[in-house]
């Protein structure tokens, strides 16, 4: 058991190092990203100054200022985008450079290959969030005095598991139909509108609020804002964490099943490497 776990960790590490080495060969990218993050945060800050009012603050679930509300929503919504894009991109890239077949004949299981392929994008996304929050704290008075950082981390991990379920599910489509991924765009589009990324759910009509409660990103943003801005304890975070874990428990096995079926279909039709 311990030997298997050591081997799994070693394989996940080697996937991470592979992607790190590739990224390192594009040297300017990280510096550009840091500047982009600063510009993004600054934009939110100035828009929030324009719309800030006591009325708006009262409408926010955790109170406080709109800048903090929006920056948390914007930064953490991107984890969903990463989950939905990372699996697709790794498959697309492996098809194009011819590594897909080579990966599939190694002694590494499919779930491990999929998990390994998204570790780096999630680590980079987390660094991006650190840069976002860093700029927001240093330059724009983002409130951190009562943040429950450990709680936020647990919400994040549960959210990543749930989002990965959606990501693997959506990438089954890419495996079968090669181009375009309506499932991905539909999920991102609907989540962008109803999850409360930039506004509280209370402004939505009741029908959209119902839809919002059927998607995991709503609980992720809710839990993250409660942990970072609303001084929430672990007990208060539990409803969000529980729902995210429930999504993960349902979505992960289903998504691996759908991906395995899609892969099986490509092995029948001989289209595994087609793009």
């Amino acid at each position: 058991m311990i030997q298997k776990m050591t081997l799994a960790v070693r394989k996940l590490t080697i996937f991470f190092l592979r992607d790190l080495a590739t990224a390192r060969s594009y040297r300017a990218a990280f510096a550009i990203e840091a500047v982009q993050a600063l510009l993004g945060v600054a934009g939110f800050y100035f828009v929030s100054r324009l719309v800030e009012s006591p009325q708006l603050s009262r409408a926010l679930p955790q109170g406080g200022n709109y800048f903090a509300f929006a920056i948390v929503g914007f930064a953490f919504f991107d984890y969903l985008a990463v989950a939905l894009n990372a699996f697709d991109e790794s498959i697309e890239q492996a098809r194009q450079n011819g590594t897909l077949e080579v990966l599939l004949v190694t002694q590494t299981s499919l779930p491990m290959i999929l998990a390994g392929s998204v570790i780096y994008p999630f680590v980079v996304m987390s660094l991006r969030v650190v840069v976002y929050l860093g700029w927001a704290i240093i330059l724009f008075h983002f409130p951190t005095h009562n943040a429950n950082w450990a709680g936020a981390l647990i919400v994040l991990l549960a959210a990543i598991l749930a989002f990965c379920g959606l990501g693997v599910f959506a990438s089954s489509y890419l495996l079968l139909f090669k181009r375009g991924n309506p499932a991905k765009w539909l999920l991102l589009g609907i989540s962008g509108v109803v999850s409360g990324m930039l506004y509280p759910l209370s402004v939505l009509p009741r029908s959209l609020q119902t839809i919002a409660h059927l998607i995991p990103v709503t609980y992720a943003l809710d839990g993250m804002r409660a942990a970072l801005l609303g001084h929430a304890s672990f007990a208060e975070l539990w409803p969000s964490i529980g729902m995210l874990l429930l999504f993960a428990i349902i979505l992960l096995p289903l998504s691996f099943l759908s991906f395995s079926r899609a892969l099986r279909r490509t092995k029948i039709t001989g289209t595994l490497t087609h793009f």
């Binding site: 080697i14 190092l17 011819g98 590594t99 080579v102 039709t269 595994l272």
Partner: protein
């Protein structure tokens, strides 16, 4: 001799190649295009068998089925006793596979980083990978290329790198699709010697390879399977094939078995 590869009545059909509106209307078309038909043969442990046939004869399809990258439509195939459909993970534990292409690497990683990555995915420890990479790359003349990014290497060098990867973890069964296609004549001869003397002679590796180079087939293979339009025309030792076709060269035997005649250029 125990059987390392067994094929029994293997059929493989693909869906018809359609595009545009027809593909949209029938995304899951039936499997109607035959690629392999009733293929049965076996390869003994430590034996070297060559697959020979024209383009589209089904050689690559056969190798891909054995490598668990394609599913057969009917029949059975097993590698080292593991069924390719029921136990693909068992098959992959015994297998080395070279696809024949010149890709399959991460272009911005060095040759060494690529080999280490795939060695780890084949459960090799870091120390074992270091030792084996040094040995295999020396044998294949890859020493200087080892620390260069793959995107800067020549086609032939990337091909050799692919061969190195396929044998790195010391597989019991090795499947090679046109192993010397992009190699210069000297590198090809050296690689053939390495396959015959080291991998097969010393380590008892079972080798099944597809090739269009008939001298290579004659030098390496103890038996040859000749495929044509998905059917197995013959499967025997090279000398026995010449005898049974009453020919003196392998090329003549191939023409005779496939029923084709050599077209002469117009005067």
């Amino acid at each position: 001799m125990a059987e390392a590869i067994v094929l029994e009545n293997l059929d493989k059909y693909y869906p018809p190649a359609v595009s545009g509106w027809r593909a949209l209307a029938r995304p899951f078309a039936g499997l109607t295009e035959a690629s392999l038909l009733g293929i049965s043969f076996s390869v003994g442990a430590g034996e070297v068998m060559a697959l020979v046939g024209a383009n589209g004869a089904g050689k690559s399809t056969l190798l891909r089925i054995l490598a668990t990258l394609l599913l057969p439509t009917r029949g059975h195939a097993s590698v080292a006793g593991f069924d390719v459909v029921r136990n693909p993970a068992g098959v992959r534990r015994q297998l080395g596979f070279h696809t024949g292409g010149d890709g399959g690497f991460y272009p911005r990683l060095s040759a060494s980083e690529n080999l280490r990555f795939f060695a780890a995915l084949n459960n090799m420890t870091s120390a074992a990978a270091t030792e084996r990479i040094a040995r295999v790359t020396e044998l294949l003349g890859l020493g200087e290329a080892l620390h260069r990014q793959v995107r800067t290497l020549s086609t032939g060098t990337v091909h050799r790198l692919g061969l190195a990867r396929s044998i790195l973890h010391g597989p019991a069964v090795l499947l090679l699709d046109e192993p010397t296609r992009s190699l210069d004549p000297m590198a090809a001869a050296e690689f053939r010697n390495f396959l015959r003397d080291d991998l097969v002679g010393r380590h008892g590796t079972t080798l099944l390879f597809a090739s269009h180079t008939l001298t290579e087939v004659e030098q390496l293979a103890t038996r040859v399977a000749i495929l044509d339009a998905g059917r197995l025309l013959a499967c025997d030792a090279p000398a026995a094939l010449l005898r049974s076709t009453a020919t003196t060269t392998f090329e003549q035997a191939l023409f005779k078995l496939t029923g084709r005649t050599l077209q002469k250029a117009p005067a």
